[in-house]
């Protein structure tokens, strides 16, 4: 589905990624974990076209996407959320979600200026689909509120709705559980699994909260200092001595 092949990236002489290699299979939830500075967000930025890799490439289905601009990658059906919630403050919740449908939007400016038939039809449809998505997420009652007035976790759900409204093939989530309490994390894990089950979307999940990783992911890739150090089912990976050494810490296995 999504193949990351030998990706290297450096900033100002600083090697951030060094031959990263993994792939997301169709319909799976893949966790990507690792210590801070391991290059997790960087790899996500490479996949979504924000950074261009120095070497290697990313294939999405049969096409190479590592030279495409972000908006084009998004319109191919590959969406993401960000570590810090990036809702647009000037837009209401439902409008934020409607933004997720932009690539499908085809009406021209003249139609928009005079509220022509195509524009109205598209707007209505987009609003309907966005409301459906919000309802599915349980966020419909906030539809007309400004994004900022929501809590952190709620904003995250809106952001996921925005990424999911176009029913993409791949969803990339960058630390969605940051700042959530344990019961909320459990809810989020359920949500993520049901997204996969309902929409058939493959999910790449970057996360530090192991509770979420363990309960949501089918498989886990572990990164450290710009390379992949382990790849496998969660139970297996968390027992890997290299992973415990570099990321989880010696006490981890005993605790869980």
């Amino acid at each position: 589905m999504l193949d990351v092949k030998d990706v290297s990236l450096s900033f100002a002489g600083n090697q951030v990624l060094n031959g990263v290699d993994f792939s997301v299979q169709s319909g799976e939830v893949l966790g990507l974990i690792g210590p801070n500075g391991a290059g997790k967000t960087s790899i996500m930025n490479v996949i979504t076209g924000i950074h261009r890799p120095k070497e290697g490439g990313v294939r999405f289905g049969d096409t190479s996407i590592s030279r495409l601009p972000p908006h084009q990658i998004a319109s191919m059906g590959l969406r993401r959320t960000f570590q810090t919630s990036l809702l647009c403050n000037g837009l209401s919740v439902v409008e934020n979600v409607m933004l997720g449908l932009e690539p499908q939007n085809s009406y021209n400016i003249w139609s928009a200026l005079v509220a022509g038939k195509t524009a109205r039809a598209w707007e209505n449809e987009a609003r309907e689909r966005s409301m459906e998505m919000l309802e599915w997420m349980g966020m419909a009652r906030f539809a007309d509120r400004p994004g900022q007035s929501l809590s952190f976790g709620q904003q995250r759900l809106v952001e996921i709705s925005r990424a999911m409204v176009s029913h993409p093939d791949v969803l990339l989530l960058d630390e969605p559980a940051v700042g959530l309490t344990a019961p909320r994390v459990e809810e989020l894990a359920e949500k993520i699994k049901s997204i996969r089950d309902n929409f058939g979307t493959s999910i790449l999940l970057i996360e530090h909260v192991m509770q979420l990783v363990l309960s949501a992911c089918d498989r886990v890739v572990v990164m450290a200092t710009g390379t992949v150090i382990a790849d496998g089912p969660p139970e297996e990976v968390t027992r890997d001595p290299a992973v415990i050494e570099s990321y989880l810490g010696r006490g981890y296995y005993v605790e869980s």
């Binding site: 900033f11 100002a12 924000i50 960000f82």
Partner: protein
Amino acid sequence: MLSVLLTSGIANGLLYGLIALGVVVLSKAANAVNFSQGDLMAVGGFVSYSVISAAGLGPAAAIVAVLVVSVVAGIASFLILRPLMKTEHVMSLLIATIGLSFLVKGLIRLIWGGQGDYLAVPPLVQGPPLILFGGNVIIPLQYLVMMAGAAVIILLFAAFFRFTRLGLFMRSVADNPRAAQIVGIPTQLVLCSAMVLSITVTAIAGFLLAPATLIFPDMGFALFLKGFAAAIIGGINSLPGAIVGGILLGVCEVMVSGYVSSSAQELSAFVLIFVALIFFPRGIFGARKTRSV
């Protein structure tokens, strides 16, 4: 002809460089741009006019007066702009300083407006120009004073940033404001001193410039724009870059004027600003700064 043009370009460029220093100090410590800087430079010129021409005192008194006025103006600007001196308010700050620029210009006109259209400040030193290399290089004494003043200010700056605690604080606030705050650096004090320092150096530039030109309330903005361009060319966060950028701009202007056409002189500065911003936004000495998303 070339050598004469070069000297005058360098002398003018040093002046741009001084204004650029003010731009850089503020940008380095507070990540801000102050549009009223040029007008405060004009204030420096007018204060030295009042002290030297009107009150008949010497240049030393003028320096003291300019320093006092610029420190007061700096603290006042800081107090007014304090709520906006955060990275996320950069554009609001810019607009507010445009307002300040209007305000300062209006005040200049109110105070000095009736005293004539263009005011002259007598030269700090009298005497024939310095003639070097058999007349190939002619440097008026005022330019020498300007160069010396610029050199002193640059040295003071370098020492300040290298050896004083406040200078160190400023550098760290510029690098990472949040971290600086956490480790207990008095951020507000640093921002305030950056503002004061920026305005002081600009006002001193005004004091140095005043005898070399005629002063009028609207003189500030064009000079600020040139100073800003110099700062960009040199790399917005580099102190030596500001001076080098200023000299480059000054030389470029005078060369275009001398060898192309004097009517293209003004245009050359704008073209240089534009090209520098678009193609070399980090400037010559600019530190590489990865852009945060």
